[in-house]
Symmetry: C2
Subunit: 214 residues, 2 copies
DNA sequence: GGTCAATGTTGACCATGGTCATTTTCTGGG
DNA sequence: CCCAGAAAATGACCATGGTCAACATTGACC
């Protein structure tokens, strides 16, 4: 944050910090490439280390478990989406429209790498629950997962009277998020065109939002 | 089926068949006990073999992957539920009531072994998708998972006019099932009383079924 | 009762995710 | 230029899920 550091934590972005970032980048790039080439399961950590020109132990320094790669990718993808859409406060249209937009962007990963996207989605569901299980509220509530986005959209909808105010926010948000996940997973698993996916998505969300009508 | 066998497949239930069942039983019992005692991850296949008094290889003869234990338990649980409730055709009350009943019974496993139930539910979701991914329709459609039950209930509801007939069956069933899973998983992960679980469940299902009203 | 093919069991073996004590690299200060 | 301590890289090592060729048991048939 502060470009002119001051005391104990010497924040100068020296060679060390730079190299660290570079290494991390090399590793995650190698991992992603291999996942796409051979699939996630078929890619060994050893191979990732190899391609990143690093020892195996180093890989685990940056990504403490193999699964962490999936989370990292999910995060990157979500960041990309949220950066594309801007802050939630600026979104326009009905809550339903807003969420359909988010879902459609989310699906784009699946257009290119279906199998892989499936794993990422599964992992991000796992992660969401794991985070919940660790009771502590995340210090900086990250916009990393669909449920958080859904909650914001639903809350705004309730504030503007477009969504039944008496629906419990927790439950409504969770339901909306899971409905989207469900549509995505079905599509990723079953295959089919993007249009089919849209229909699957719209069908589910229409039901839910009918139920959420004021 | 036929007690007096006839030709090639000699169906007498000899020692061999009996022993096989016994062994399978011993193994799955051992596994379940250990899972409850130490947790799933902390239980090694070696330990299961040990307690079942069998070599490790034998365990894998019956349960080709460790995860298969979870599926087996999910199956047993579902069978228990469906046997308790009888055939779907005989269920009474509104579709909503019917599904709430199913969900409540499903939750009972979680009352005793929360962590374990979570894994079982996750696994049965995984499984459901894996089955879908393998395109072939399962020869004998097993009543093994929630989605199948949901589909039947929804279909009946549509036939009797209690559910919007224009809602696509696939999507409605999937949404209902996932809503139940979601409530269960949230409860299992977050903790809380059974009453809280019921509320989480009812909240979600009420939204969905409002959306499915004719 | 003996024979033999089918079925079931076994444990040595492998692959791989993950750990950790040791070594190397970096940086700030004298 | 050197030193000390911190940070990061390393690879030997471990635990464990899963495989498989060799071995044991079974029971239908003679």
């Amino acid at each position: 944050m502060d470009p002119t550091p001051f005391t104990h934590p010497p924040r100068s972005v020296g060679r060390r910090e730079r190299k660290k970032l570079e290494t991390r980048e090399r590793i995650s790039t190698a991992a992603f490439a291999l996942f796409v080439e051979r699939g996630y399961e078929a890619t060994t950590v050893e191979a990732i280390a190899e391609r990143a020109d690093v020892a195996k132990g180093t890989v685990f320094n940056y990504f403490p478990q193999k699964r962490a790669f999936l989370s990292a990718i999910a995060d990157a993808w979500t960041r990309r989406i949220t950066s594309e859409l801007g802050p939630v406060e600026s979104w326009t249209g009905t809550p339903l429209d807003q969420l359909k937009r988010v879902a459609r962007l989310s699906a784009e990963l699946g257009v290119r790498h279906r199998e892989f996207a499936r794993l990422v989605i599964f992992e991000s569901m796992r992660e969401a629950h794991a985070v919940m299980a660790a009771k502590k509220t995340p210090a900086e509530p990250p916009i990393t997962n669909l449920e958080v986005v859904a909650r914001q959209v639903v809350a705004r909808g309730q504030a503007t009277g477009q969504i039944r105010a008496d629906a419990p926010l927790d439950q409504a948000a969770s339901l909306v998020a899971i409905a989207i996940y469900d549509a995505l997973v079905h599509w990723l698993v079953r295959g089919g065109s993007v249009e089919q996916m849209q229909r699957a998505l719209d069908g589910r969300l229409d039901i839910v939002f009918t139920g959420l009508n004021p």
